[in-house]
Each structure stands twice: as C-alpha cells, then as structure tokens.
C-alpha cells in the first residue's frame, strides 16, 4: 500500500509540475466556451424561450469540453506506463520502493485530478459564456414554465454524475493498453484505434444497447447520452432524457468495468519484462 502511495505522490507531482495538465485544462475550457457560445446564439434566436436557457447552453458546452477531455485522458493514461517503461522509470520504481501492482494502482489513484480538473475547466468555460448571454432561472417557453431552476440544476447534476464513472473507466482502459504496450506511441495509437472501433460498433447498435456501450469507456458517446440528453431535457423536449434503468447502468457499470480492467492491467504488468 505504501508503494502505491509513493507512486501516486510521484505521479501527482509530475502531473502538477508538467505543462500538459494546464494546457489540456485551458483547451477544454476554451472549447466548452466556444460550444456554449454557439449554443447561446441559437437559443437567443428562439423567441419562444423567455427564461432559463442558460442551463442547456452550459451543458451543451460542457458536453463538448468533456468529449475533448476524454480524448486527452485516454492519451495521457495510455502514455503513462508505456512511456515510463521506455524511459526506464518503471525499472527504477520496482527496484526502489514499489511493487508491480503499485505501478498500476498508483496511477489509477491519480485519475480524479485530471478528471475533476477537466470537468471544472469545462464547467467554467461553459458557465462563463452562458452566464454572460443567458439566464439560469426557471425554464419558460411560450409563457409556460417547464422546469423550475432547482429541477434544472438537479438534471445537470444527474448528467454529470452519470458521466464521471465512465471517465474513470476510460482512464483504466488507457492503463490496460499502456501495460500491454512496449512504446508510448504504440500505446496511444492502439488506444485511439480501439476508441474509434468502439464508436463504429456503437453506430451499428440499437438505442438501448448504445446506452450500455456508453456506460463502458467510449467517451465520444457522451454527446449522445447523459451529457447529450440533459440539454434536450432542459429545453423541454418530452421524449428526451435517460430512463432510470439506463441511468443506473451508467452509474455502476463503468465502475465495475474499471475494476476488471485494472485487475487485468495488474496481471499484465506482473508478468511482463520491465
């Protein structure tokens, strides 16, 4: 356990002191802001909406920012073990203080920082734009109040909570690919290739199964599920939103998958030559 904490601390140090996290954070924030701006222009043109358009505008922006962040997370996690294997840092760690499982577990513990950091950047970018263009009151369309401000806020939180576990699973998936690869470039290419393959498989599935696939680790689906559906709900579309069953799947299935994937990554790293 102490080895895991040592790896966690050293990885945290690298993440915070490196430029990557900050550049990705700024980019995610900027992309979320641009997307929110685009959405706000469209919503401002809809004269039937007189109040509360800020909620959906913000979530639209966040959805785009999170999709970009997911790519960055996948690249970062796929690069981590494979890159450190190339540079010799893994060798150094196992000869000094960390067991092989600790190499994976320590890196898994780091996941909340880039995930929450990215979400915060996406939120700030989208919120600042939505706040400057639209209001966050009750959603009123054609003089009819569809949702109160509290209900809108609850929908936003629900969508974010349904997205978080998938991002942790995504990070784990990157670690597994990284544990199996011999080079950082190979690991990133393989992770992105599998990501695209997942996207293609998703397109061939029915809606119901599509949501289950989202609950795994294909992040581009964020647009078509929780974070994609919530803005529609907040704009008063009656057929939008995720059912309770799908939402439950999105909450727990990625966590279970993450555990399985990490166990596989540990098994791989236990056997391989460092």
């Amino acid at each position: 356990m102490t080895g895991t904490l040592r790896i966690f601390r050293s990885e945290l140090d690298r993440l915070i002191c490196g430029f990557g996290l900050w550049i990705v954070g700024l980019t995610v924030g900027a992309v979320a802001a641009i997307s929110a701006l685009k959405s706000s222009i469209e919503l401002a043109g809809d004269l039937s909406i007189t109040s509360g358009a800020g909620w959906s505008c913000m979530l639209e922006g966040m959805g785009t920012g999170v999709a970009l962040m997911a790519f960055a997370l996948l690249i970062a996690s796929a690069r981590s073990l494979a890159g450190d294997h190339e540079s010799g840092l893994l060798r150094m760690a196992v000869t000094r203080s960390a067991s092989r499982p600790a190499l994976v577990l320590g890196r898994l513990l780091v996941a909340p920082l880039p995930i929450l950091g990215g979400l915060l950047a996406a939120f700030l970018g989208a919120w600042l734009v939505a706040r400057s263009q639209l209001d966050f009151g009750p959603f009123v369309q054609d003089k009819f109040e569809h949702m109160t401000a509290e209900e809108s806020l609850a929908e936003v939180c629900k969508a974010l909570f349904a997205t978080l576990p998938a991002l942790v699973a995504l990070w784990s998936f990157g670690l597994l690919i990284s544990a199996c690869s011999r080079s950082a470039v190979g690991a990133v290419a393989l992770a992105l290739g599998l990501f695209v393959a997942f996207d293609l498989v998703k397109e061939s599935l029915s809606d119901e199964h599509l949501y289950l696939i989202f609950a795994s680790f294909a992040p581009s689906l964020a647009d078509s599920s929780a974070l994609g559906e919530a803005p529609k709900v907040l704009q008063g579309f009656s057929d939008a939103g995720l059912g309770d069953f799908v939402l439950r799947q999105a909450m727990w299935l990625p966590g279970a998958q993450a555990l399985l994937i990490v166990a596989l990554a540990v098994a791989v790293i236990q056997r391989r030559t460092l």
Binding site: T2, G3, R6, I7, R9, S10, D13, R14, C17, G18, S87, G88, L89, R91, M92, A93, V94, T95, R96, S97, A98, S99, A102, R271, T273, L274
Partner: protein, 305 residues
C-alpha cells in the same frame, strides 16, 4: 550474509540460453565486477537479479530479499541503469526530489550532500536534458546514492563516455568504494574498471568462467610469457606443434603464450622460437592484467567447447 546472491540462475529465450547455471555472491564492502563481452549475459543476469525479468530457473537474493520483491529493501538498494533515468525537462534538484518521492525513504545523505559527492552542486538548477552524458550519468548515480543505500548496482556505467567522462565516473566509483559501500559493476571495459575492483565474476556465452577475488583471478595466469618476434607467422606455426602450450593472444609481433601445466621452462620456449627462425627479440613474463586473464579464460572456454 551476502548482500547479493545468485544461485543456479538459468534464463532462456526460446532455444537461446542467455544465462546458464550462474552462481556467485557479493559480500558487504566488495566492489564486484560482472564482466564479459557483449552478449555474454551480464544485462540479462542483472535484469533477473533486479526483478525486471523472470528467471527460467534459480533464485536471486538482494539484501536478503527475493528479486521479485525488491521494493521491500526500502531504499537500501540503488540502481543506475545503462541509460540514465531522468526527467529531462526538470532541473537537477527536481530530479533528485522526484526520485526521493519514489524511494520514499527518508534519512541518510541529503540532496546537497549527494550533489556535492558527484560534483554537480553548481548545476543544481540546470535542466537534466541540458546535461552532458557524463553529467547525466553522475546525476543518475546521485539519485541512486541519495538516502542511505547499502548496495549500488551500476549497469554499464562507462558506456558512451569519452575519456574525460570515464575518468570522472571512475574517480567517483573509487571514492564510493573507499567509503565502504558495496558496489556491483556490470561492464565489458575491463581495462578501465580493473583498478577499482576487489572481486569479479567473468561470464562468457551465459556461463560463469571465473569468480572470486581479483587477485585470485589474475593469479591463475602464472606461467604466461610474452614473446616479441620479428616473424610472427613462423612463431605461431612452431607454437602450434607444441602440445600443452597455448597461444592466448597475438597482436602484431607480440604473442602471449601460456605454458600452463606443461612444466616447460621459458628457455624451452625461447629455443623453439629461435629454431623456427621467428626472430625472437624479447621474452618476458606477460603482464597480468585483467584483460589478459579475461582473454585466457575466454580461450580456455572456447577450447572446452
């Protein structure tokens, strides 16, 4: 108790036997050379010993801990790999701080002390990527020495270094050796490391051909003579007919001959060379350098095969 003990180590890659039945021990205070030509299995041996690779058979103990659980040595082991493991965008001081986080062991030498020891105090703020190869190696050594290691393993510490860099690293190794630290050096640069070694294990084609104190290994070359001749071709022809004598090396007009257990006297060798018309210029005891002993052992190994 031995600081480092390898027992009947075997490692195969498919049909290729990289290491065969290797055993040796390194005791506290020794400066032990793991020597051999390229491809002799030194790095494979170290990889198995350091838990980076699973041995096919055999066991390794480092500071009383199995090689698969070296993290339990908790900073008592320092390793310097062939390529320095450094964060190139970070400063020298930041690299030491990062490695200290991985090591997790507090106490022992401070970062300033260790930078002073390796002669990098003035470059504390320089980016690791901007260091020369020699300075990079010294920084790698500093990361291994920070804390309180009892045993430091250096894999090819001189590879890629120019003569100045080589001298600097050797001086540093000498300084560490006199401080009582146990050191293991894996290298093929016998001539360079000979002055700092107390013990050695020599490997050829994955097999151990000699192990023990350096004086013993060098002592095995008694009976070696060096002949300087004008006509080496004739000399070699004449020597090839003499049973029990062995030509260990031949460089231009200088031939090293091992009279071995034949019981022959130097005068007999001189007589043979004179009679063959080799133009004997000088006959003297061969200088017992590690490189000579190594050549002799390799030649013996080849003969046995």
């Amino acid at each position: 108790m031995a600081s480092f003990a390898i027992h009947s180590l075997h490692k195969s890659f498919g049909s290729v036997k990289a290491v065969q039945d290797l055993s040796f021990e390194v005791h506290p205070g020794q400066v032990h050379g793991l020597l051999g030509p390229n491809g002799s299995g030194k790095t494979t041996t170290l990889c198995c010993a350091l838990g980076l690779m699973r041995p096919t058979k055999g066991s390794v103990e480092v500071l009383g801990v199995s090689s698969r659980a070296l993290h339990r040595t908790r900073g008592r082991l320092g390793v310097v790999f062939d390529q320095p493991v450094l964060l190139k965008r970070r400063s020298v001081a930041a690299n030491l701080a990062y490695h200290a986080k991985i090591r997790g062991h507090k106490g022992g030498r401070s970062h300033d002390e260790v930078l002073d020891l390796v002669g990098l105090s003035d470059l504390k703020k320089r980016r690791a990527g901007a260091l020369s190869l020699g300075q990079g190696k010294r920084l790698a050594l500093a990361t291994a020495l920070a804390g309180d290691p009892e045993l430091v393993v250096l894999d090819e510490p001189l590879s890629g270094l120019d003569p100045v860099g080589t001298r600097e690293i050797l001086a540093l190794i000498s300084k560490l050796a006199t401080s009582g630290l146990t050191l293991i050096l894996s290298t093929h640069r016998l001539h360079d490391v000979e002055p700092v070694l107390t013990h050695a294990t020599i490997m050829v084609r994955g097999r151990r051909v000699a192990t023990g104190p350096l004086s013993e290994i060098l002592g095995r070359g008694e009976g070696m003579l060096q002949a300087t001749v004008q006509n080496p071709k004739r000399a070699l022809e004449a020597l090839s007919t003499m049973g029990g004598w062995q030509v260990c090396s031949e460089e231009g007009s200088v031939i090293d001959v091992d009279l071995g257990s034949s019981g022959a006297q130097p005068s007999e060798l001189a007589e043979v060379l004179v009679k063959a018309g080799a133009g004997l210029v000088r006959l003297q005891p061969a200088g017992q350098r590690l490189a000579d002993a190594f050549d002799r052992l390799v030649a013996q190994e080849s003969t046995l095969e």
